[in-house]
Amino acid sequence: MFAEASTVAHEALSSGWFLEHAFLIPIIPAVAFALIIFFGKKLPMKGSELGVLSMIGSLVFAVGAALQWIHRVNGAGEGQFIDPVIRSWTWWNSGGFHFGIGQHIDGLSLTILVVVAFISSLVQIYSLEYLRGDRRYTHFFASLTLFSAGMLNMVVAENMIQLILGWEIMGLCSFMLIGHWWEEGANSRAALKAFFTTRTGDIGLLVGTSVLFFSANSWTQEHLGVSGFSIRGLSAWALTGNPGHAAITVGAVALFIACIGKSGQFPLHTWLPDAMAGPTPVSSLLHSSTMVVAGVFLVARLYPVFFKGMNILGSGVNLITVIGGITIVVAAALAFVQTDIKKVLAYSTVSQLGYMMMGLGAGAWMPAVFHIFTHAFFKACLFLAAGSISHSASHHSFEMKKDMGGLRKFMPITFTTWIISTLALCGVFPFAGFFSKDEIIDNVGHNGYTVFMVVGLVGAFMTAAYMTRATYLTFFGEPRGASAGESHDDHGDAHATHDTHDTHDAQAHHGPHESNLLITVPLMILATLALGAGLFNATPFGESWERMTKWVEPRSVVVADMAHASVGETRGVRTDDTVAPPMMMSSTPTATASGEETPVGGEALTTASESSAHAESVCGTSAPEMGTCYAPQLHHAPFKWPKAAMSVVIVLLGMLISWLISVQMYTKKAGFFVGLTSRNKLLALGYGFLVNKYYLDHLYEKVIVHGIAHPIAKAAYWVNQNILDGIINGVGLVTRRVAGWVYRNVDQRVVDGAVNGSGAVARGTGNALRPVQSGKVSQYGALLFAAAAVAGLVLIIVNT
């Protein structure tokens, strides 16, 4: 038992300034946000320079921290647990609870930090050109910067409260940015829809956090000295503390509902495509590469909780895989009937998020996290390319069928980057998507989720097909509509109605052309990464290429007990385990782990290190008798070329079939496929079903909202008419009889005399007081305060 408790020889874990100060990464854009709001309009570039600079600053900090983390991992012993760099301060105290704020930096958070800061920087640079002259230019950059601050804060969060803070900031910014052009009714409706849909899920976040807190708090306080909000505490509790089955299941399911809302999983995915009403940089940053992965990130972050709560790897099916699997197929099918290029990409995002969820649900943690990493690059690139097309070629239209086509001749750079990213998205061999998506499918199958592996392959086929369709419609064939030079100013896009684009419209009338450098350079950078990012974790080339796995994946080692580490008690002081984790673990393992155990000698240490590096860890399957687990034991599927070749063949097949059909459908005037959906009843039915998005919106608005509101209203009306009215009528009748008697006897004789007398008095007083009732509110206010002051004075005099 003791050998498992990770008493291996420890080299001191290295740290560094950037790692210790990673909490500054979200603070930089937060400060920039305040500066932009207050001074942005007076600055020479209307505040945008602050946004761009703050994002680059965050990127520098994040990359610095990541490099130091890599150094830390490389310097650590084999099979040694790499402590995350945790710092915590007391944010506020209430009712005896400490609410902390701080940082929890490990491989996962650094990966996302670098991605978010990097994509944000590029998107902000892109927006300099894309939104040039917009009437709310400054506010746009302020919201974008605040969004990044929120996301970065969520990623560095040390505890659930801090995470919720970032999560909600993102929700708010998403609302502001989708509704950026709120003059169009559709845009503000989309913003509201996104906000309310994600808020529906957020109920789960609050419920889940509370449930977990109240179940875990006493255990974490006792064993780790941190509160039940702490991410480290929750992870350890889930794996070590023998949590109650009901508590952790309810907590995990509730949190997962929040992830469904935020990450656009079925059945709450409907907001994400509508969110494309926002400016394209927003779609690129928020609704494809960063914000929507927040839900996936939460599952990855609290993986032990979900691992236990959802019984991952313990059974052949669980909620996360099912939702992920359904989302992949459902969203991919919807992408086929879209005519708006951004909506195709939006559904593709939903589908890819489904892959990540399915991977996480099936125990493929590392591939899912790696897919977040690669997906961010190529999806951001695809969206920015779509923006580039609408900006420079199709007169601010996103309609592929009406306004695009044949653009490859006019926009060579956009076309090339689009093709590279499309191949990456589809998962063709040397491109980034292959290394992550194929790994997910492979590992899902390896872990025994065969059905979901098939779902993944079907999804890959469909992805290839709808992306080929979109590519064909956009870049091949003959130019149509706006890209052919036709102008139609009354086009449905919000952009066109704005007074800001007068200068630009002059260019658009000259026909399609390539965008300028502020747009193409970010595209080229992202395309390069879409091509090469896969090499960070290139499983096919052997273990030495699996760098991300080494750096990011938490090691499922049983860590010697740290019962008395005073992590939660520090206020403004860095926590113990960042200062001296190695000392603590190397000098006092025997003392803390168990008193009667004799100190272990040098040879024993090396064998322990060998065994814990390669053998099974108990983490995840059962609670260790001594020490603490922070990550469940996961397995990686061995890479096999035939399997990879099969999935690539499937993808290529999808592309080929889709290409042939597209040529038939969209170019030939007559043929089997032209108008097929209007001829064949069954296909027409399916097409209608897809065009109406499975009628989910109808379900939500017509059935659920009306279904709940109407019966309640009807029931209330019935109660009102029959019961209340009956009572009232009865009471009324009785009252009338009594009143008649009272009137004749009491009222006429006794009361009237008194009333007449008092009436005379009242009239006199009323006349006297009339000037006071001037009708002026301020005068009333003055009287009120004067009276209050007099009353206060009286009170003071009486009391002294």
Binding site: L769, R770, V772, G775, K776, V777, S778, G781, F785
Partner: protein, 99 residues
């Protein structure tokens, strides 16, 4: 003592608010002044909650914030309607309720 400074701040805010309610003609400014008054009360609650180490004041302050939001919502709606009818939100012109 720290509580004193809180109370002084609250008193100053309160006085500014009272001044605003009495002296401003613009209905929106009056609403804002009322917010100031409410918040000065909040500060008092928090100051005493801190001093007594009890949570009641915090809870009270949260309720006040929520109710203040509702109040300003109703107030602004009234101002909007007044503006639609009269094209002005000067309070001293609104004296139809004169006795």
């Amino acid at each position: 003592m720290l509580v004193n400074q809180f109370l002084i701040l609250a008193a100053v805010l309160f006085c500014i608010g009272v001044y605003g309610v009495i002296a401003r003609r613009n209905a929106v400014m009056v609403l804002m002044s009322i917010e100031l008054i409410l918040n000065s009360v909040n500060i008092n609650f928090l100051a005493f909650a801190l001093r007594n180490g009890s949570i009641d004041g915090h809870v009270f302050a949260l309720y006040i914030i929520a109710i203040a939001a509702a109040e300003v919502g109703v107030g602004l709606a009234l101002v909007l309607l007044v503006y639609r009818n009269r094209k002005s939100i000067a309070l001293d012109e609104l004296s139809e309720m004169k006795g």
